[in-house]
């Protein structure tokens, strides 16, 4: 019986040494894994979606491969509604290897505005959940996650149509000049087209016009829009319908009464 007992002892000791050595070296090699997050970039796809790209460089100088590397991001509003989520997965990062990946997230601003137009006109806060997970030495799963908030700046903050000025154009038409003011507090420069349709008190279209707008982020915009309306259809009061066409979003009508 002594021999089997001794064999059990030798096997146990061997496996303990192997387990401890493996665990300690795996933990120790984590310090030789370096992450480098590049400058976030923004792009617009052909179908008018905003794509955020975050270049991430992972240098694995440790003793073991890193398996199932995953970065995931979830953006939600204050009520917890998920706006978008993105995930980037790398199956294996070999030892002594440098891998550069681009973590992409797509936001469809049109969808977002369908849900709540306040994103266009009011500042708010977005909640971001970020998680990085990996398997150290392909066997020890590790996950780091964090929650934080980022301010969302409205691209048409405080959008107003100023005082409407009328001038005679010809015998049948008037030239109407409308002052457009807003502040672009969004993270992107706003370049697009604003169309205004003027309706009289009986909801009949009396004239329309459009203008190009260009507002850099964090800057106010003041501009005039001219439209020609028929004198016959004019009433003292009515409403404007405003449409916005930009590479990022299309929105309208925004109804603003006049008179």
């Amino acid at each position: 019986m002594r021999v089997p007992i001794r064999m059990i002892g030798i096997a146990t000791t061997f496996f303990w040494i192997f387990l401890i050595a493996f665990f300690v070296s795996a933990v120790y090699s984590v310090k030789d894994v370096h992450f480098d997050f590049g400058e976030p970039q923004m792009d617009v796809t052909s179908d008018n979606k905003v794509v955020f790209s975050l270049p991430v460089s992972i240098a694995n100088s440790g003793f073991y491969n890193i398996g199932s590397f995953n970065i995931s991001t979830e953006i939600s509003d204050k009520e917890g509604f998920t706006i978008t989520r993105g995930s980037t997965f790398v199956p294996v990062i070999k030892k002594n290897d440098v891998v550069t990946i681009t973590h992409n997230m797509t936001i469809d601003l049109n969808d977002l505005l369908q849900q709540d137009k306040n994103y266009l006109f009011n500042d708010t806060e977005l909640k971001i959940y970020e998680a990085v997970s990996m398997k150290i030495a392909d066997v020890i799963p590790v996950q780091a996650s964090t929650n934080f908030s980022v301010p969302w700046g409205a691209s048409l903050y405080n959008f107003t149509l100023g005082k409407v000025e009328y001038a005679a154009h010809n015998l049948t038409h008037l030239k109407v000049v409308v002052l457009i003011t807003f502040e672009n507090r969004a993270f992107f420069d706003l370049v697009g087209n604003v169309q205004i349709q003027m309706y009289n008190s009986t909801d009949i279209l009396v004239g329309e016009g459009q203008t190009n707008v260009e507002a850099h982020h964090n800057s106010p915009y003041h501009g005039y829009l001219e439209l020609y309306v028929s004198i016959a259809g004019m009433t003292e009061s009515g409403h404007f319908e405003v449409y916005f066409l930009t590479p990022f979003f299309n929105y309208g009508p925004l109804v603003i009464p006049y008179g």
Binding site: M1, T12, V24, Y28, I140, V142
Partner: protein, 149 residues
């Protein structure tokens, strides 16, 4: 009288030898801990209480090694070996919180899944436990045979 004297001397010599062996084993174990700690020291900066947790484990384990060595040649040696194996199992389960180890550092939550490591460690500890039980049975068996002869 001379026999009693010789018996006492043998006992003292045996005990001194056991104490020496226990001391060497204890120092050796502490040396291994000391070397391994150099690699794991960086964790203690992130995980609060990690050093204390490991030190407590090492202290109790060394104590059990010393007691086990001092009681070698008796049935109590195997009792302490069983206690050592059970202590390892219990301590690993409690300190690693079932294998899912989580902590929050500033605003970042870190989660380490050590279930595989824990399962293997449990298995090896159970093997150690089985070995101690077998040794105890073997000891009793040999003692019975010796008494019969």
């Amino acid at each position: 009288m001379a026999d009693t004297n010789n018996d006492f001397k043998t006992k003292v010599r045996n005990f001194t030898f056991k104490a020496l062996k226990a001391t060497v084993k204890g120092i050796l174990f502490y040396g291994i801990y000391f070397v391994l700690w150099m690699f794991l020291a960086s964790i203690s900066e992130i995980v609060p209480g990690f050093q204390q947790m490991v030190e407590t484990f090492v202290m109790v384990y060394i104590l059990l090694i010393i007691i086990g060595e001092l009681t070698s040649g008796t049935i109590f040696q195997y009792f302490f070996n069983v206690a050592k194996a059970l202590f390892v199992i219990g301590y690993l389960i409690f300190s690693l919180k079932g294998g899912i180890f989580g902590l929050t550092f500033q605003n970042v939550s870190l989660m380490v899944d050590l279930r595989l490591f824990l399962a293997i460690a449990m298995l090896l500890s159970l093997l150690g436990l089985a070995k101690s039980v077998l040794q105890a049975i073997n000891y009793m068996n040999e003692k019975a045979e010796y008494t019969r002869i």
